[in-house]
Amino acid sequence: MLSRTADHLYWMARYTERAENLARMLDVNSRMSLLPQGAEILEQGWIATLTIIGLMEAFRQRYDSVTSSNVIAFMAFDRDNPLSICSCVHAARENARAVRGTLTSEIWETLNATWLEMRGMSLRSANETEVGNFFEWVKYRSHVARGVIQGTMLRDEAWHFAWLGTYLERADSTARILDVKYHLLLPRGEQAGGAADYYQWSALLHSVSAFEIYRRVYRDLITPRRVAELLVLRDDMPRSLRRCMSQVHMHLQSVRNAQSAETERRAGELQASLHFGRIDSVFEIGLHEYLVRFLGQVRDLGDRVSRDFLVSATD
């Protein structure tokens, strides 16, 4: 298939996934703002979120104070912020439009309808209920998009590139979500199991749809170590790093070309380290350090995918 087409499909999927993960991140923080806790802690939560996305600087330039409503306005609704949910939904739709001939009409219509509906919303001064509904809606539309890709698309290269984008983005996002919370929680030195901690960790689990899964897998107290294990190392957890990387590796194998051997090797190596890794050794390195390194590896894979397939071979 055309390299440019593959590029659009890959980014269509990445932006769709990114919009969903942003909604998840913002949702969990805005839920926490409803808990009885100091304004300072709440502010720290938002700062950690903005920092980990890499937008603290850009936010400071536009807003004086770090409040829930400012951060949500900036991260959810601000069209001048290229990484806001609105911008991601729009970018997903524009990428789809550029290759609408390659997509099934259902996929195109789904992404177009999402964008049209979002355009019709009045999103500036939403109150908490409406914000919550909006995040739910973004997640729902992302589920629909994935479902229609899964249900209607020919299993050819186009399909593999769409999933490659999805899983690279999801790996990146799960690592960031985990890192934000870890940052925020552990330095405070409290023993796991305290009430505040319980809410924080359970909110994190909720944000990646893993709360019920945790209960079913561990049937026990929520501890940071197990949360990390679930989100990093478990293959049956759909948003875990390991799960994402095994999918990335698989889809890379399916689109293999003359120059992609090294990329495939690196993806395989990363997947193997997650496959055979133990949570103890992750904690020996330090979870934060581990995640930072992981994010670097994911970024490297993304760059290599672009180089090998998307910006195609020169003449």
Binding site: A98, N257, F309, S312, D315
Partner: protein, 471 residues
């Protein structure tokens, strides 16, 4: 004032014409709320499917719907038979003419068309002189604009032989009508048009360079911000071919390749939706970002087919138009079945004098204009507009032609105040490959403003489904 237009649905005595009777009685017994509801549904569907065109000028990149009217334009079988034969004949002659011009120029030698008219025309491409193209076909796809003035009285308004557009609306309008009012298709036997993409693909494959057994066909688009992008994507999808941009193609050793995820892949036929000027920056406009450097060299070497061919503009130019009936006689030895609108060529002294004396009655068009821009409709113009246009003509008369104001036929159409007649035209799409074919019907455009004769979508025109009845 214009004469009363021919009404497609009603005879002059007010009765409903035979071929509209079934539709008229359906409309009469269908509750108006249901019709209103269906019209709203059509709007939503068009938006969701993203059947839009991009407006130039205003907010860059604004996507708009072309208004769709639910009253079909119905053509009875016998009228279509005549039209189809006339269209095929005309396109055959136009292809023969283009081939002749780029080879031995017999028609010029015979003195049937003044040579300077052709050779000094900006649309004549000296780069094409002496190049053989597969099957001697230049206009693989022609969109011929036809209007009706009276009973059985059809005129060709212009021959679009470069990159004619609109066929996706023909197909989507049909799909929409069948979705909204399936019962109408049970009541009428409407000739199908849905196989157009198959015919087109077949046609494009048939003109591949010789020796290529399983040709790779691509559709070349200027990109997602072009006004007709929807159509490009739609046709590529329907034909199952790659939709490429200039940056996706490159030329190596006079072969054309596309950049794919598995390396370069040969391309044999390019259905291009980009004007000649932008195709190859090495030969035409050097600032073109849309084209492919070296494409013309590959084309001249016979390694790739470009459809439509480069240089077809010489045959559909408004200054050449008056000679088309002569082409039919010269190349085919037949009398033209479809009439031209009588045309005054203002580079001729006597035509200029007549036009200036009768400006109020005439339509004046720029020879190189398109899309309804830069034209004067005498009967509808104010004194000041007439005067301004007179000055423009006097400055450079060779840039203009003039025609009597035809009273385009009108078809009942939904407007704010209910149903009222609005002027329409028809663009059938004629395909030339191994043979000349066309699907029954075409795109009917309608001028939605009362009294307006301008049907172009860029000027507020809409579209209708076009039904050719099989009996």
């Amino acid at each position: 004032m214009l004469a009363t237009p021919y009404d497609e649905m009603h005879a002059s005595d007010g009765g409903v014409r035979e071929h509209y009777k079934t539709f008229a009685s359906w409309l009469a017994r269908t509750p108006s709320e249901r019709v209103a509801h269906k019209r709203a549904e059509a709007d939503t569907l068009f938006h969701r499917v993203g059947i839009t065109f991009t407006v130039y000028g205003e907010d860059a990149g604004t996507e708009r719907l072309i208004p769709f009217d639910i009253v079909p334009r119905i053509i009875p079988a016998n009228e279509w038979k005549h039209l189809a034969a006339g269209l095929k004949q005309r396109v055959r002659a136009l292809n023969a003419f283009t081939n002749d011009i780029y080879h031995s120029q017999e028609i010029l030698k015979a003195g049937r068309i003044p040579a300077e008219q052709v050779l000094c025309n900006g649309q004549y491409r000296p780069e094409m002189q002496g190049i053989d193209v597969p099957g001697s076909i230049y206009a693989h796809i022609a969109g011929v604009d036809v209007v009706r003035a009276g009973e059985g009285e059809f005129y060709v308004l212009e021959d679009n032989l470069r990159v004619p557009s609109g066929v996706s609306y023909m197909l989507e309008d049909r799909r929409m009508m069948m979705r909204l009012f399936p019962e109408l298709f049970a009541l009428h036997s409407v000739a199908p048009v849905e196989h157009y993409p198959d015919l087109l693909l077949e046609n494009l494959r048939s003109v591949a360079p010789s020796g290529v057994n399983d040709p790779t066909v691509v559709l070349l688009t200027p990109g997602a911000y072009n006004s007709a992008y929807f159509e490009h994507a739609f046709l590529a999808q329907q034909m199952g071919i790659e939709l490429v941009e200039g940056q996706d193609l490159f030329v190596d050793d006079e072969f054309v390749y596309m950049r794919t995820t598995r390396g370069p892949q040969r391309v044999d036929v390019i259905y291009r939706r980009i004007d000649d000027d932008f195709l190859d920056p090495l030969v035409f406009r050097p600032d073109s970002m849309l084209g492919i450097p070296g494409l013309l060299a590959a084309y001249r070497a016979g390694r790739v087919t470009i459809a439509n061919a480069i240089g077809t503009g010489v045959a559909d130019d408004k200054s050449i138009y008056p000679y088309v009936p002569e082409m039919v006689r010269f190349y085919l030895g037949e009398e033209p079945l479809l009439s031209n609108v009588p045309t005054f060529v203002l580079r001729r002294k006597e035509d200029l004098a007549y036009t200036l004396a009768h400006l109020r009655e005439l339509v004046v068009k720029e020879v190189h204009g398109a899309g309804g821009y830069g034209m004067l409709i005498g009967p509808a113009a104010s004194k000041a507009e007439l005067e301004a246009f007179r000055q423009r003509i006097l400055r450079s008369p060779e840039k203009y032609i003039a025609q009597p104001t035809l009273t385009l036929s009108a078809c009942p159409t939904f407007v704010d105040a209910g149903i009222a007649p609005r002027h329409i035209d028809l663009r059938p799409f004629v395909l030339s490959g191994r043979e000349v074919t066309l699907v029954p019907g075409g795109l009917t455009r309608v001028a939605l403003r009362e009294g307006s004769l301008v049907v172009n979508s860029s000027q507020g025109g809409g579209t209708k489904d076009t039904w050719v009845l099989e009996r």
